[in-house]
Symmetry: C2
Subunit: 323 residues, 2 copies
DNA sequence: TTGAAAGCGCTAACAC
DNA sequence: GTGTTAGCGCTTTCAA
């Protein structure tokens, strides 16, 4: 076995409790003793055993981070930012992937419950009630979901959708489609509400759809049948699948149909057309979520909600409707 | 605090050890007792505390997975496969990102050492010796790195590079460039060796470069100056950056210059030209790595090396050299 | 300022 | 087949 607090105690000629104190409350220990202990610890290569610490303190210094799909390029920047922020605050992040399955999501939260101090739920697919129930087992922070009793980081995709629709309207579009996402998705709901409130254009709702390229591909027939001149897709992946499928049917983007995505995952890629999209503040959300979670772990705060701005990035997949 | 083994013992009228046994060695306990204990446990919502288990058994049921950059689309499929496989084998995976920094890599391994049963090091940037030293602290399995004493999963990128170069040669190219990756990268080294062994073409070596779009962009000037008609890039990200930069200088791909990437991260995307690339068996590697790691955790096996095949996917970024 | 001792939740001999 | 007991590595009273 590795070197323990006891080895350090023996090497520095003090009791284990003094060693413990040297690390957890250094100001309570004599400077000379402290130096001696630290030297011995360094010498032996001592590193505290987090599992043992967790047992007495109840704090693991680990956070769980659950996403629907790591392979969706929307998530990695958020994960990276969360990890970086957690690292700064002396925590580690445990990432897990639900494969878009609410049941797996629930299982993962329960599995995490005992081995982390809190869980970040990103774009959950679980029902509100289920999340609120689980939040009694372990501190939770949700990203892109609004609940009464759970702290949340929201990206204002409703506002983004409104901007996107206004952009289409200003180009002359009068009838557009909203290709919605998974049924459990809060962002999808926000987009629906924003679209329903649009005044200058008629909106056709198509969905729910899986939030993937496949989802977009599968929506092609409905989009064509709906006789719209513009589409706002649930996310960039869906938009890309859609554009591909449209291409196979001879429908050109943006000449015949304008398409807008959400997330801005394609920046700097070779995609043609370059996608007009709603950019999401993913990195900021990751950092903020960690801060909120850590805050709700050690303080009994009322549920905070942080809302971050989105923005419309106009590129080449939108244009005037065909005459 | 949550419900413990003691609560279950009280509720079912047995001693804690019987409860413990019911979970860890059910065959050693009377069927009736077992049912009673299980019922009580279920009733109270008992879930074993992994940290406490870890303290006695020395097994955390957690695995660490370290990658250079989660945002590089090469990694997510590997991560997903590893997580899925770990889940099947009753383990969780802790993912961390080094931001391509060997020092962070080392820190992360040490931080993981106490809280996981083993660590998967994917495309490490650390020196061989450092890795071998660290492998004494915690069971390690490396992906895409070959070491004497550490089990490894290798993707045969050398063979892939040979195929890629043969492909270029068969199209008529006689002078090509290899845009290499980071200096610590084993795959980059394998590619260099394969390129150095090529007989039908002259190879110019350009690098090292960061394994990103930026890296490709920055290599444009050297590529143009080297007067080659074909390029094999360290990975798809570099290839894409390169093609973008080339486009800005008026060099067309594949008409003026052929480009081949590695990883096959762009399948089904809208990229133009669609990238000719060496496809990597990432998902298989993720699964295999978990199996190897778990094997080396509980058995004292000699270091196994698994080599997985790569394949050349010919698309649109390669063609005949200009006349 | 330091030591002694109890205990976190669980497992693993060993005894009955 | 089940209970007893000691202890994993650490923190945290409480005394000294």
């Amino acid at each position: 076995m590795a070197v323990t607090i006891r080895d350090v105690a023996r090497a520095s000629g003090v009791h284990v409790s003094t060693v413990s104190r040297t690390f957890s409350a250094p100001h309570l220990v004599n400077a000379e003793t402290r130096i001696r202990v630290l030297a011995a610890a360094d010498d032996l290569g001592y590193r505290p055993n987090r599992a043992a610490q967790a047992l007495t303190t109840g704090r693991t210094h680990n956070l769980g981070l659950i996403v629907a799909d790591i392979a969706n390029p929307f998530f990695p920047p958020l994960i990276k930012a969360a990890q970086a922020q957690a690292r700064i605050r002396d925590h580690h992040v445990f990432v897990a992937d639900t494969d878009e399955d609410p049941l797996v999501e629930k299982e993962l939260i329960q599995a995490f419950a005992k081995q982390v101090d809190g869980v970040l739920l990103c774009s959950p697919r679980l029902a509100d009630r289920a999340i609120e129930r689980l939040s009694r087992d372990v501190p939770l922070v949700v990203v892109n979901r609004r609940l009464k009793s759970v702290p949340a980081v929201l990206m204002d995709v409703g506002r983004g959708a409104t901007l996107a629709i206004e952009h289409l309207a200003s180009l002359g579009h009068r009838r557009i489609a909203l290709v919605t996402g998974p049924s459990g998705s809060w962002t999808s709901k926000e987009m629906r509400e924003a679209a329903a409130a649009a005044e200058e254009v008629d909106v056709v709702f198509l969905g729910p759809n899986p939030p993937t390229g496949q989802g977009g591909l599968a929506a092609v027939t409905d989009v064509i049948a709906s006789e719209v001149t513009g589409v706002l897709a649930y996310n960039d992946l869906v938009a890309i699948g859609l554009i591909e499928g449209l291409g196979e049917r001879g429908v050109r983007v943006p000449e015949d149909l304008s398409v807008i995505g959400v997330d801005d995952i394609m920046s700097g890629r070779l995609n043609r057309p370059r996608l007009t999209t709603i950019a999401m503040p993913t990195a900021a959300a990751g950092r903020m979520a960690v801060d909120l979670l850590l805050q709700s772990v050690d303080e009994e705060e009322p549920a905070t909600v942080a809302t971050l701005q989105t923005s419309l990035v106009v590129r080449e997949s939108t244009g005037r409707p065909p005459p």
